[in-house]
Amino acid sequence: MTSSVTRMSSLLQKPKTPGFLRSIFGSPNTGPFLGWIRARAAKDDYASGGTRKPNEIDFWRGFALITIFINHIPGIYFENFTHRHLGVSDAAELFVFLAGWSLRLVVNSQYKVITFPRLLLHLGGRAWAIYMAQLLITMLALAIVAAAAIILDAPLLLEWNNAAAAFQDPVQAHVGFVLLTYQLGYFDILPLYVVLMGLAPLIAIVDYYARWALLPLSLAVYLTAVFFEINLATWPVEGRWFFNPLAWQLMFVLGFMIAKPNPVGNWIKNHRWTARALVVPVLAVGAWAGLTEWAYEVGDQQGWLFFTIDKTFLTPARIIHLLSLAIMFGGAFTILHGYARPLTRLFSMLGRNSLNVFCVGSILSLTGQYVRFAFSGGLWIDFLIVTLGILVLSLTGWVSEWRQRLRAP
């Protein structure tokens, strides 16, 4: 669906290289202020030469990326305004859900053009790219950690974010990095993503030959993992994966399944306000639980995990909350795109380049932690970190697309 739109727009529009500000605010006559008034009337949108037009999926991906960037600087003032405090799920669920969703778009668009083996090659290549990205940002992170310890003359900083083993047990740690069993704090999403993209060809195959079996299979793996508390081990630091792939694959598969037109999705699209009204109670309870940091105390009998709010095992409460959010805010993009076009353009641009933006964001968050340490926090420092961070993330998205255009014939 999106791909045909993209192709159409790239045919209609003469590819041009927009300046950084223009890529966000549009051309002068639909600038930030006039644009707010004219935007709704404007029929054609500004697609920055050859790239996808702003769309719902990219927009929310961008939103998730900015949220993750802020959430990964613990203690920063603006973290209090991220949506995880108003519910029981956070940007990670959204990100993985949308990753599944965009897998559907990739699979659907590639089926027509290339053969099935090529699809597998394509997805495998994507997993490999993410794996390399993980190794690269881990290396950069270690250098930042070490540099901070040297510059600030504080050896203790060497151990922030679970980095201690890299410096104290380098023999084991290096093997662990390559095996993805040693994950620095906050650098634990991409290992999950590598596993999920590694599974993507399998998901695509099952979807192609036996669509009915995909969700039951995924659900069975999830239920088994949560019931029997199964998770992958980390090494050399004793522990378990922060994002349990056996549980999180369900979020990915859900995104993949829901992205395909289906009766439930159609009903929701046709009865938006009824559907929204139905999830209000869920979100209200979620908000209450989030605000009060509620945790249901269960015993440790088998299956207790189902009744808690646990991120590692992606417990049902978190899935239900994310799906409710999707129902509540699905379609909101159209309204936002009418009234706050610079925002939808910016977020969509970030979302279109999610891997690059995510990697730069991880490095920025880590740097932000040490900047806060060096200046002992403070509202102004926090403000500066967030503003500069979002600016650099935007530049990352813009430069990435500039490179893509240069590469295109």
Binding site: E159, A164, L179, L180, A233
Partner: protein
């Protein structure tokens, strides 16, 4: 597959390290260790401290009951201990992983409480602040089923500029949750380091931790005081690793001994009084 490979590798590498470490020890690489080893064994069997770790009892811990563990011991059962917290739990600065404090503690406790099987589950994450550990504790406790939680905390909060009030609220909420589940709690306090001795936030966090322990009536290992005492009275012994912040092996040994000493002392406190140890 990767995981299995990793764990096999882990065993091999750990094994190699142990052999290397033992031969180092035999060769008498470290004067302090040489002097420490035989004395430590004698001390451990008696359940007291080896000479180089000796500190007045009042400087080690504030007494508090450990009802669940005491009951288990009376029945000579298995005790499961969850060691959670930041760097010192992971064992940074120790030349061999087996010398990290949880591993040492397991050995000391098994020797002291003969006939009892002590299992320590290590879930330390280096650099972690208390709020992150508290969050992790919620599920780690249910996943690992401990009878006793050893929570080493404070140093990273102090350095991250977490306010003592926030810290206090986080820790006391977490401690209350554990107590409600009949899990004994031992809080292991901040490191002593001359560099931060006059840091306001550092002392603020230390005092907050002391207040939580007193209010919740849980055992609190005053590591700061113990280390400070040792640093002042035994200046010739190096307790801190080369970076002057982390404990070296001897430091870990003392820390493990102090925790073991405090735990056993507080377990046996109940017996002379003839009170039946009951889990409420």
């Amino acid at each position: 597959m990767g995981v299995r490979m990793a764990s096999t590798l882990a065993r091999t590498v750990t094994g190699a390290c142990l052999v290397a470490g033992l031969s180092l020890l035999l060769a008498g690489a470290s004067l302090a260790q040489d002097a420490a080893a035989p004395a430590a064994d004698a001390a451990r069997s008696a359940g007291s401290l080896s000479p180089q770790c000796e500190v007045p009892n009042s400087d080690i811990a504030t007494p508090a009951p450990l009802p669940t563990t005491a009951t288990l011991l009376e029945n000579s059962k298995k005790v499961r201990i969850l060691a959670i917290g930041s760097s010192s739990t992971y064992g940074i600065g120790a030349t061999v992983r087996g010398k990290a404090y949880p591993a040492q503690l397991e050995q000391i406790l098994e020797k002291t409480l003969s006939g009892v099987e002590v299992k320590i589950i290590n879930r330390g994450v280096s650099g972690e602040i208390a709020s992150a550990t508290a969050e992790r504790l919620k599920s780690e406790v249910a996943l690992t089923h401990p009878n006793l939680v050893l929570w080493q905390l404070g140093t990273n909060d102090a350095l991250s500029g977490i306010s003592p009030e926030d810290f206090e609220n986080t820790v006391s909420a977490a401690v209350r949750r554990l107590k409600k589940k009949n899990i004994d709690v031992v809080l292991v306090g901040l490191q002593y380091t001359p560099k931060y001795a006059r840091d306001e936030n550092y002392t603020g966090i230390r005092d907050a931790l002391r207040r939580v322990a007193a209010a919740e009536n849980v055992l609190y290992i005053r590591r700061y005081d113990a280390m400070q005492f040792l640093a002042k009275t035994r200046a010739n012994l190096q307790m801190l690793a080369g970076d002057e912040f982390h404990l070296n092996d001897l430091g870990y040994q003392c820390m493990a001994e102090h925790v073991a000493h405090a735990v056993t002392a507080n377990l046996f406190i109940r017996r002379p009084q003839g009170l039946p140890a009951k889990v409420n």
